[in-house]
Assembly symmetry: C2
């Protein structure tokens, strides 16, 4: 199949890992990858877990050459709000040189670019310049729970043994600016549920007397941030690695990342940043406290004058090197327990966590990757830290004792996690070329 046919087939599978009703789609997606990689002569296998399968594929052995472990994820985010998509999220469509589909940039496009890079080298040279192992999981968007377990097995660690790890699940500054990321944010996700009366109440019969859980939840959330947009949770910033001067200088030159550009790109009236930091600095290197969802009471058409029994909020914090995700989550729990009004009860549900990650960008493999980027795009890459999180990556690196290098292909307007997610056809093709340059340069190390 052509490189675009393969990608479209891959994108057509609604492998939403967070939603039970899509479990079969996620498994079909794993089967698709196994057969694709097997067709390239890889020893490809699907490893079933308690949630979603893990795909491992090893190239035919190339004696005396290093081994590159390529990590990626074939699962995708949910698609709501579905009504904002201009085309069906799982019916890929090209408009104005962009491929529109859920997963186009995060992370199916980059994975298929890596696979086709391998395929083209095999077609051109008959063999690979080094050993390649693919590790492709189906739970990244929901916390990689079973992969954490999987890599604890010594036999698995032997199977995944490598010299360096490459991940293509990060961003690039703009279409002309290749990007080498040397850090990722960590993450902790949690949910709070506030309960007032035991049943929905008529706001006339009991209003003014019964506690309102929505009001209480809003007050609790409002208490987490001060007028300078500094998070007020005790201990939240403990251990945060400060931003180096060279980083501030380098980041101030990243195209598209000025406060004015970020505001325009996001369609926001203005940015809302922590006092003393630019938007870029907040995204790359400051911890965040983000409300991802809130719900409570009546949300249908018209009005319903009730005092609801519950209100809940979904929250995620992006963390930086030096922060312990579990500790930050505990600080948040303590804060909410402290500010919860006595008339209501609060439940706190721990979600998934992941550590931040940072490497030295100047190792041999790091420099080879930077050369591969420069050869592909014709200009030297910018160095930055990612605002995004790939929690499992820190764990894999730590377990295997090898560095992970991030080669980003997601453009700022790729709308990953949002309606109308897309990838430029041009970037997909550059991704294939980058893979070929990367494998050939690393094969020389």
């Amino acid at each position: 199949m052509s490189k675009l046919d393969d990608l479209f087939a891959f994108l057509s599978i609604p492998s939403i890992s967070a939603q039970r009703e899509h479990a079969a789609d996620v498994e079909n997606c794993a089967d698709f990858l196994v057969s694709k990689l097997a067709s390239l002569g890889f020893d490809a296998s699907k490893h079933l877990t308690t949630i979603h399968p893990i795909v491992v594929a090893k190239s035919p052995s190339v004696e005396g050459k290093p081994t590159l472990l390529i990590y990626g994820h074939y699962d995708v985010m949910p698609v709501d709000p579905i009504e904002l998509w201009e085309s069906e999220p799982f019916t890929p469509e090209i408009r104005d040189g962009r491929i529109y589909a859920r997963g186009a940039s995060d992370d199916k496009g980059p994975i298929m670019a890596l696979i086709h890079g391998v395929q083209e080298i095999l077609a051109e040279d008959g063999q690979l310049p080094l050993n390649v192992t693919f590790l492709l999981e189906g739970e990244e968007e929901r916390g990689s729970e079973t992969l954490y377990e999987f890599i604890k097995d010594p036999a698995v660690q032997k199977m995944l043994d490598c010299d360096v790890i490459v991940v293509s699940d990060t961003g690039m500054a703009d279409i002309n600016t290749p990007t080498f990321s040397y850090g990722l944010k960590g993450l902790c996700c949690f949910e709070i549920k506030v309960s007032g009366p035991a049943m929905d109440l008529h706001s006339g019969l009991f209003g003014g007397a019964a506690p309102n859980p929505i009001s209480a939840l809003c007050e609790m959330i409002a208490s987490t941030r001060d007028a300078n947009n500094v998070v007020t949770i005790a201990g939240f910033y403990d251990g945060v690695m400060p931003i180096a001067d060279w980083e501030r200088q380098s980041w101030s030159r990243v195209p598209g990342m000025s406060d004015r550009e970020l505001s325009a790109l996001t369609g926001s009236r203005a940015l809302r940043t922590e006092k003393g930091y630019t938007g870029a600095e907040c995204v790359y290197a400051r911890p965040t406290f983000e409300l991802n969802g809130i719900t409570g009471g009546y949300q249908g058409e018209g009005s319903k004058t009730v005092i609801p029994t519950h209100a809940t909020a979904k929250i995620s914090c992006r963390l930086v090197p030096g922060q312990d995700p579990q500790r930050v989550m505990n600080c948040a729990r303590k804060h909410f327990e402290k500010v919860c009004p006595p008339s209501v009860t609060m439940e706190f549900f721990d979600g998934h966590t992941g550590e931040a990650y940072i490497i030295d960008p100047h190792t041999n493999y790091g420099k080879a990757a930077q050369r591969a980027l420069e050869n592909t795009f014709g200009t030297a890459p910018v160095l930055l830290r990612e605002g995004g999180s790939i929690p499992i990556v820190a764990a894999i690196s730590k377990t295997l004792g090898k560095d992970t290098i991030f080669l980003g292909l997601d453009l700022p307007d790729a709308r990953i996690h949002s309606p109308n997610e897309n990838m430029r056809v041009e970037i997909y093709e550059k991704g294939i070329e980058l893979t070929k340059n990367l494998l050939r340069l690393m094969g020389e190390e």
Copy 2:
């Protein structure tokens, strides 16, 4: 049909006025009432409007006798959260002496008790002791929009001309305590929508920089209430009628309305009342600012790390005599415009409004109604103000220039507007007896 068969047939019609998909059910419900009242010899007619029909039915003329206008509503509240109902909301079922169904107490049960009271008098005496006109609307739960228009028509005012108005859509203190309400709260409903970025954003790519509309909305809501649970909106309390000493004393003796009892009845950990007022005082005579619903971002299973584009809240204020609903709504709008963070935009949507209402409980008709209650329940009624609102009632009274008397049959545990709404069979039968006593006593005035 038996009095219970009639009620069950009435309750089986899902006449939810707020939801478009139920428009035909609402109209069927009007047809049901027209044919029922016509079968009693009333001149019954269905008046179509731009939203839901209005039913008017006039008894055969009784010379030299006063005319009683009976107002009620045949529409009901939505049923969500549907999963909390123990039986189908529109399949009435008797358990432990209670009829469970949406509308059982609000307001179909009381309406059918009034109709069957009339039916029994006709069966016993062959004629009514006074003239009776029924005015039954299908939009009370959504704001009575078209009835406000309807009563502006002089021909309609002539058709509805009466000496006194009776409404049975209010509460009774407990099953042994007949209740005479002499006041109703007013109401204003509105919705605020906060918009941040132009599309849902990945919280890693833009978190810390892009404004979060959920955080902003929560901060704006939290700003409306101080530590004493006093509403901080400028002008909110302007004109509020103070509570008279005799009212405080009388209300402190209403069964079931102590703070401890209210807390137990609502299943709340504790009440949350305005400082200086009891729960009963807040419910009967203090204005409230109630969050009825809130929504924004991802609410499905698992987590989705987005910064959403919008967050909205549905709010209703219960108002007391002396407050102007439109003015209170304008004060709320000004407050939210003032506290809205500059990084987001806010839209404010006016909902329906209604004035509070209060009468002198000691008129002749008032005293007749209190006697009817005493004869029916064997004990003197308590006098109180309603926490609920029937916005149209103040308008009807004003337009026709006649007092409205409230005879409540809703028990505190009737769960009106909530899952498992119910009416005791015993109360339904008392309601029929009360109607007979009321008509006969008023016929003597």
